[in-house]
Symmetry: C2
Subunit: 142 residues, 2 copies
DNA sequence: CAGTATCCCGACAGATACTG
DNA sequence: CAGTATCTGTCGGGATACTG
């Protein structure tokens, strides 16, 4: 299994960062952590992730284009996610009052900022997916 | 709003990375993306995230210690998440057949590897949470 | 074209009680 | 102590039909 080497030092660094972020993690309520959870909730959803990635790939997409790209998503969910993502500032919605109406979606700079984090995470996941899937298979055989 | 500057060049780089990761994203089925989704599904869950962070902070925790730290989690869900995380290789479970029985959980090196990504993401989220929350508040007033 | 409005269903979380 | 077992409710997603 081809793991990046994790040194004792790196573990200490992680612990320190956690401490710095949350103070003492001994807290009874997760309210200190929850704002971050709130932020991530919108954006870590499986459909939102795909929407953001497609908009990172194609700079501008219309509603029905997105619906085709994000294969399997329903009208309702696509509409909901787009509203949330727009509301949180990840993307911009532009409406052209033509007939028939045309609406275009694109990432804001903030959306692009998140996209970069998302890509980092996806690169990590892709690097280790075989590792995880074989672990999983082994553990299920027992 | 205090955003990191996103250059046109960075947007192009993101698009290229996406292209490299997934080939042409025009695919009808998301199967190419789904293995990564599978990987992330276990680990991006709200409870799993907290479990991993607590185990990054406290090197070793027992079942009931975790249950206190991860405030609000039920026996059932904690037990399920621990099994999944162990099965995927993020943490190690050690049982001491004493009376009463003692079981200890700790992150594997792989778990620490993921923890680092998680911390990066959390740092990002913390940096921009005011931004997101004010965006959200503004958009809801309309 | 770009969405709403409904209805329906199943997965999954929470609570509680129990056990090796 | 470290978990199962069970039941129950809800919440969110899918499908479909409709509208400005």
């Amino acid at each position: 299994m081809d793991l990046e080497t994790i040194t004792v030092n790196q573990k200490v660094i992680s612990a320190k960062k956690l401490k710095k972020m949350f103070g003492h993690l001994d807290l009874r309520d997760a309210d200190l952590i929850c704002p971050i959870r709130d932020v991530m909730a919108t954006v870590s959803d499986k459909w939102s992730t795909l929407i953001i990635m497609y908009l990172g790939y194609y700079p501008v997409l219309r509603f029905n284009e997105l619906k085709k790209k994000v294969y399997g998503i329903s009208n309702k969910v696509l509409s909901e996610r787009l509203k949330q993502l727009e509301g949180d500032g990840y993307l911009k919605r532009t409406m052209y009052p033509e007939v028939p109406i045309r609406v275009e979606y694109e990432l804001t700079d903030f959306g692009h900022s998140y996209l970069q984090r998302l890509i980092e995470l996806t690169e990590w996941a892709q690097k280790y997916k075989e590792c995880v899937l074989s672990n999983r298979a082994n553990s299920q055989r027992k």
